[in-house]
Symmetry: C2
């Protein structure tokens, strides 16, 4: 009999991956401690100001008792989301919105409701790395569907999906606009996904948190725009990026599938409610003038242009013009992008400055893929972005690896 031996975690507890984005943080901290200024191309924390109306919502909160809200979310927030969809020509009732604690919980509730342990979800690769964490929590297997930097990470051919479908496949999960790729799927690509979902009895789970960030006036197609897909289309959403409010944990599930809404509500009842004041602030954000989001889009598009031009000019770098979100993936002329990224932090300085990028391998589930790629977030102002890419270029020229 054990007396005071160290008890073991579960296989699930051992398997959940650490954030690959945060893995390099100790190297950056050490460099900063040495007085080196680090320009961050690695994280998706926008520098854009949060709408002031949102901050004011916190500042005007004045209840005696900070009470539970409804498990499906405050009515004011659900209505704000439904109203928001009207701008996108999507007719949705507030009852078709379940408020969640961040987009993370939207993904978790949807996985709980649609999958059993051992089920599989198809995910175009590279993908938002935290999908792996949620899938591990829900005991579901992520089956990557390879996309490629050389063709701008367009949607893989239907035959590639078909070959990976098994009796346990339940859904296709994807972010659109894409994190980490910046790809925006065309209407034709979305219809191809819809056809596949209907033909193979799958759900389409669309993480659309970057929906507002689509450039060059391109048309944006949400899964909620697709006719005949009402029961299978699920939007997983969040205010974090849209309103530069990552510290407010408010997201939502938007779908016309009543069974899913009802099941998500039951999972929601177990956790009682999403944060009350964050929801009030979120409703205020949705009520901010349309010019806020337009200005943000213009700003990101300018940064995108700066970044793309600068990256394209570096010898040996393969990249493409990202059409949305605020990331891109670039292939570097190095064998191991993680070692290069660490070397930048530990050994390379230009006038006492260096740059931090995210190795892309953490965004792939297939071993060996993405080893020579990095994700670059353009959440810095234009001048800083130029300088950061210049340091990256100088680093590539000087890298002994």
């Amino acid at each position: 009999m054990p007396t005071n031996t160290k008890p073991r975690l579960s296989a699930r507890g051992r398997a959940v991956p650490a954030s690959p984005i945060r893995r390099l943080v100790p190297y950056a901290d050490a460099a900063k401690a040495d007085g080196v200024a680090i320009l961050h191309l690695n994280i998706g924390q926008p520098d854009i100001p949060t709408p002031r109306a949102m901050i004011e919502a916190y500042r005007s909160y004045d209840e005696k008792v900070l009470a539970y809200g409804h498990s499906a979310g405050l009515p004011i927030f659900r209505r704000a989301v439904a109203d928001y969809w009207k701008r996108w020509n999507v007719d949705l009732a507030p009852e078709q919105v379940i408020t969640t604690t961040g987009g993370s919980e939207a993904i978790l509730f949807t996985l709980y409701a649609l999958t059993d342990p051992g089920d599989e979800i198809l995910v175009p690769e590279p993908f938002y790395t935290n999908y792996l964490g949620f899938a591990t929590a829900a005991a579901v297997t992520v089956v990557p569907v390879p996309a490629r930097v050389d063709d701008g990470f367009r949607l893989p051919p239907t035959a590639v999906f078909e070959a990976l479908i098994t009796p346990r496949t339940r859904a296709i999960l994807f972010s659109n606009p894409g994190n980490p790729t910046g790809v925006v799927y065309t209407r034709a690509e979305m219809e191809r996904l819809a056809e596949l979902a209907r033909a193979r009895d799958l759900f389409l789970l669309a993480d659309e948190v970057y929906r507002e960030f689509v450039y060059d006036g391109a048309e944006y197609t949400s899964v909620l725009h697709l006719p005949g897909l009402e029961e299978r289309a699920v939007v997983l959403d969040s205010i974090s990026k849209r309103y530069s409010a990552c510290g407010a944990r408010v997201g939502n599930i938007a779908t016309r599938n009543e069974d899913l809404l009802e099941a998500a509500l039951r999972f929601g009842q177990a956790r009682l409610c999403p944060p009350t004041v964050d929801q009030l602030a979120g409703a205020a954000a949705y009520a901010s003038p349309a010019s806020y989001l337009e200005d943000v889009r213009v700003e990101y598009q300018q940064r995108r242009d700066i970044l793309f031009a600068a990256l394209k000019a570096i010898p040996g770098v393969t990249t493409f013009r990202p059409a949305g979100a605020f990331y891109t993936v670039a292939r570097l002329p190095v064998a191991d992008a993680e070692r290069f990224a660490i070397w930048l932090l530990t050994d390379f300085r230009v006038d006492g400055r260096s740059v931090m990028v995210a190795p892309a391998s953490g965004f792939y589930a297939t071993p060996g893929r993405g080893l020579d790629e990095v994700r670059i977030a353009y959440v810095l102002k234009g001048e800083d972005l130029k300088e950061a890419v210049a340091i990256l270029a100088a680093g590539l020229a000087a890298y002994p690896g």
Copy 2:
């Protein structure tokens, strides 16, 4: 091939239970629409004012960008929790606290980290009903360990636990002070649990959200007080009840088990961070003067006395003096407490008022248990509480069922 058939949820999605506490809400809403005043003995939403310093923390929030915090929680909040434990003679470092989005997420992260799908957790019954929802989400089986109203829901004998342990049993989960029972386990009971955990290689997961609400000057024993249990003791905590701040979603996992802390952090990285402003407000709550919690305890103890005296005087009611939390379970002289509770809402009025209680069967996992019991929350002021129990007594006398 299906074309637009309705796709099905998973077994998990169908299985997750609706909140039994909220199931009677439509009856209460209908009565209110008819002009009936309903006194609520059914819910655990305290009427105690939230500490003003906490509200002021929202009101003084003034950042330009509401940014992500650390996945393990803001340092100021983790330090506040560690400092709080010193008052209980528990020496804990801030690094031994992982901040979670409510107590709910503390339970989920712990289940993810310690169990695999199909594993079992032992839970003294009746128990906090939402444990079933979390267990369903994590695909883990709740194995109820029966306790009884007749002996005040004391900890079941060790032999009863032993008989239910299988090779898949991973942990014992319990709330202490108990929701819904109001029981507070003695030092001897806690040591009995500790011995069992060591002998059978189990974790002890103690939901201690009502820790401050222990009456009659009784000693309170946390799992963190138990020597030789460092690797197995986990506190699941929340500020919701302690500071009457249920709408702020801030909880934490406190443990000395480094593997668990590290795994909880990895699950935490997937969801990025707990709500930033709620954490700032939570830190302010912990910094409020000790008199706040003392006053709240005195208030609840007075209500407990009123409730217990009034319930004991009703013919045919079996109950006991609850020692903690703000609930009790009473056996009523009716065959079906849920039908009685509905009848109170639909048919019974005293001067245009009625009362709402929570059928206790929802707090049991064993079919048939608790059918004649109700949970009563004493979150009303003394006078309202007296009136509510008087209506309950009159209802029992008049009930035709």
